[in-house]
Symmetry: C2
Subunit: 319 residues, 2 copies
């Protein structure tokens, strides 16, 4: 009936996406401490920050310094996000940053203009120069992100066929540059996905790219995050972005800090995986410790459930 | 792949379970107003309150008076909960209360002692006298609740076989009394369920009772509520308890008002159903109005997502 993966990887977005959406700029010591707690919990891919415009995103202006402050756990990739060549070069210059060369496609022109200050078509065209830039520095492409893949508050529903058109464009680009198609990371940036749409999306992508790894980036804006995760697990997806405590969300989603939820919470997601018998390599109790610290730092109640209720193993009499 | 029902019914627990868990006793006018808003949103079964000990549950002490205050919408059943004969007689005496004769089984002795002040075996034995009591007043049995069906904080994991043993006991009772087996309402009282356990539970119940309606009562204590709902929908379940705003929870679960989540939120659940094409007969926008009022009354941010982010139809350009 379902085709669960045996092992699922969570890529932690809390330090980046979680703190980027906040109006407050939080002290670098606190963010470094949180990243260290996330390392201790066993996360192997942590997004530390962003090399983006300090004018528009002052919360991330000290990302280079943050790379100096964090402790390194063996086998952990500490990465950052960028949106242009300058950002990539800053990432290259950061201390021991894992370089995760990424492409970025939009499915909504309105969102692209707001988030990237260019049209969707311009942004797609730019991806060829990103591939060349990465090649020039000795890198291939690791991931491609496709944003607002289910719908956009500024543009309405995004049809699956639009996403598949973007993927075809990506495939042409990869062919032209003789590089393999990277991991495709589907982002439900504004919380439009539902479990059935997730399954149709995965089916559609596999029709075009049967061998390519697919990752999912869910926001819990409308409460379906964990159901979407479950639906993707049923389809065998084994790579997810999540944020400790359920931090994060989309700054251009029009909700900001008004109580709307952020990314799916790492600890809730990991809890579900463990409960249904999927391994994650993560220590749930240590994730809860990290989430509790994140809640203290942020200074308001976070939306994660397991953070407040704890896991179940302490109640299991047979353990 | 999935066997979705075409139409799903939500039984509203907010006025009862939602206000019962709060330490504050809220003014009766506010609870009456909330119930009226729930009626306007189209809910057809609303749990108004409980006829239980005013000493232990003072929040529900004015339930009879609440039945006097609420407006009646045509076709809506306004019901209450009881836990003994006295409570049932009070329900009979309440103005225009829909009598929903119920049985109640426990799967955890420890929880039964705390919640019902008797052993699990005593409680099961009592059900025969409940059936007689109902019969004496001209009623059959409409529902049977089975509590902590997936696990209990006081007792650990509850095996599916234990639940099925309870169901066999129920079947014997019904046979002895020559009454049909009522709707079986499976309660995840303390948030132990996961989507796979939900599917196994439904499979197991259908093995014993292929023709009986099964309802599900999920708490979102550990964040899996909406995934559990989705899993149950995949199995064709068409009756759920939920609470506006995500109010509620289990007062003996050991979390109380500490930020742990309550019942699955009516508006989030209805939103998901509508998004995947399942009808509910409910008006999502009016549910959000009711949830916003519930949040004002309670006086703290509720855990529902759609309450804070709204639905999607306003963004759909093709509508």
């Amino acid at each position: 009936m379902s085709d669960f993966p045996k092992f699922v990887e969570f890529r932690e977005e809390g330090p980046r996406e979680g703190f980027q959406i906040e109006k407050t700029i939080y002290p670098i010591e606190q963010r470094a401490e949180l990243i260290d707690l996330l390392s201790e919990a066993g996360l192997k891919r942590i997004m530390v920050g962003s090399f983006v415009s300090p004018k528009y995103v002052p919360q991330m202006a000290d990302t280079a310094e943050l790379f100096n402050r964090i402790k390194r756990s063996p086998g952990v990739e500490y990465s950052a996000m960028w949106l242009n060549e300058k950002g990539f070069l800053n990432a290259l210059a950061a201390k021991d940053a894992h370089i995760n060369p990424m492409l970025l496609y939009y499915t909504s022109d309105a969102f692209c203009r707001r988030n990237n200050n260019c049209t969707m078509v311009e942004m797609a065209a730019r991806q060829a120069s990103w591939v060349k830039l990465y090649k020039q520095h000795g890198y291939g492409v690791e991931t491609v992100g496709i944003t607002t893949a289910f719908g956009c508050n500024f543009q309405g529903e995004i049809a699956l066929s639009q996403v598949l058109d973007v993927v075809r464009e990506l495939m042409r680009l990869c062919e032209e540059n003789e590089i393999p198609v990277p991991t495709v990371n589907i982002a439900d940036t504004m919380g439009w996905a539902n479990p059935e749409a997730v399954k149709r999306m995965i089916d559609g992508l596999r029709g075009l790219l049967p061998e390519t790894q697919i990752g999912m980036h869910f926001h819990d804006t409308r409460g379906l995050g964990i159901a979407n995760l479950y639906a993707a697990l049923e389809m065998g997806i084994d790579l997810f972005d999540s944020a400790i405590g359920g931090l994060g969300g989309c700054p251009f989603g029009g909700f900001g800090n008004t109580g709307a939820a952020g990314n799916i919470a790492t600890e809730d997601s990991v809890f579900m995986c463990h409960e249904i018998g999927i391994e994650t390599g993560l220590d749930l109790d240590k994730l809860i410790v990290a989430a509790a610290r994140a809640e203290e730092i942020i200074g308001r109640q976070l939306m994660s459930r397991v953070l407040h209720s704890g896991g179940l193993n302490r109640f299991r009499t047979h353990l």
